[in-house]
């Protein structure tokens, strides 16, 4: 009994140590630019850009194979930030940005089919079979996957209602366009 405990513990410790050394020795230096861009992305891996998740999109943007405007949930703000980071000139008029939008379920149309829950990358939709679903606003990233999935068109992207908690003084027009 004691021999078993001691020997397996020792074995685990030795293997762990060996793996730690190997991890240090074979560490991969990733491109720091890719990591920085990935940190700026929404991170919901919604796939609207056509890349395999935000990591793939960050790599493509860093390599220049994808435009900085390729992230729809990021909108104008992200495009401008990425352009500043990469030093690219950007024509912001081509970016369609209608302000942040969140998914909303129309209670009178929802049939409780549970399909939207399964495609939500952030688990922002609550509900059960034959119960009306609802969106947790704090968790929704506005990727729009659920809108396509809904069989009754009960989910729609609505502009975020302005509340006291996140109202900000509007910026002057000239800086807002830049």
């Amino acid at each position: 009994m004691i021999a078993a405990i001691v020997s397996l513990t020792l074995l685990g410790a030795i293997l762990g140590l060996a793996l730690g050394v190997a991890a240090r020795k074979f560490a991969v230096e990733g491109d720091p630019l890719i990591d920085e861009i990935e940190a700026m992305m929404p991170g919901s891996n919604c796939g609207q850009c056509g890349q395999a998740g935000c990591a793939g999109a960050a790599r493509a943007i860093a390599e220049g194979t994808a435009p900085v405007t390729s992230c729809p949930p990021g909108g104008k703000g992200l495009a401008a930030a990425l352009a500043a980071k990469l030093g690219v000139t950007l024509d912001l008029s081509t970016v369609v940005d209608e302000g942040p939008k969140l998914a909303q379920v129309s209670e009178e149309i929802c049939i409780g089919c549970c399909r939207c829950l399964k495609v939500c990358p952030t688990d922002a939709i609550v509900g059960a079979a034959k119960q009306i679903h609802n969106v947790i606003r704090e968790a929704c990233t506005g990727c729009g996957n659920c809108v396509e999935r809904c069989p009754t068109e009960a989910v729609a992207m609505r502009p975020v209602p302005v509340t006291l908690q996140h109202w900000v003084w509007p910026k002057p027009e000239s800086t807002a366009a830049a």
Binding site: S7, L8, F26
Partner: protein, 193 residues
Amino acid sequence: MSEYLVLLVSTALVNNVVLVRFLGLCPFMGVSKRVDSALGMGLATSFVIVLAAALSWILEHWLLAPLGLGYLRIMTFILVIAAVVQFTEAVLHKMAPNLYQMLGIYLPLIATNCSVLGLPLINMQEGHGFVTTLVYDFGSALGFTLAMVIFAGMRERLALAKVPDTFAGTPIAFVLASLMSLAFMGFSGLNFK
């Protein structure tokens, strides 16, 4: 020397680990859509199999048997296999990033590949010596890679063939695998005299 050669042939072809013993079918079906990724998977699994078998043999004979801990065999082997797989992953990530991307989820899944655990257990059961163990597992790993590459090649051809809708995709791959297994059964008639 000739007995090792016979052992190599018999493990690679006659007792092929995938097609005759039916171990390790998950990567066999999963990573066999393209020849290059199948070859990479076969080589990575081969590396893990041989390394894990050698470590398992040492542990079995120097640790478990002297202490009478035979009942911990499977647990110990799984510990060793998991560590070796992690090690392989780190090495591949460094040495061959493209292959690392291509293998994806199947790389950590080598840890649950039953051929990797099955071969050390077969070795213990048959009481192989250290060198015999190495040759046996190297031959089996060779057989695994061979089966993967042949199967992937056939599936690449199959992608161009006209398959009835009902059979398209995975079903025809299973039919193909069974036919290939049938062909490998023919090796059991090999005579080494």
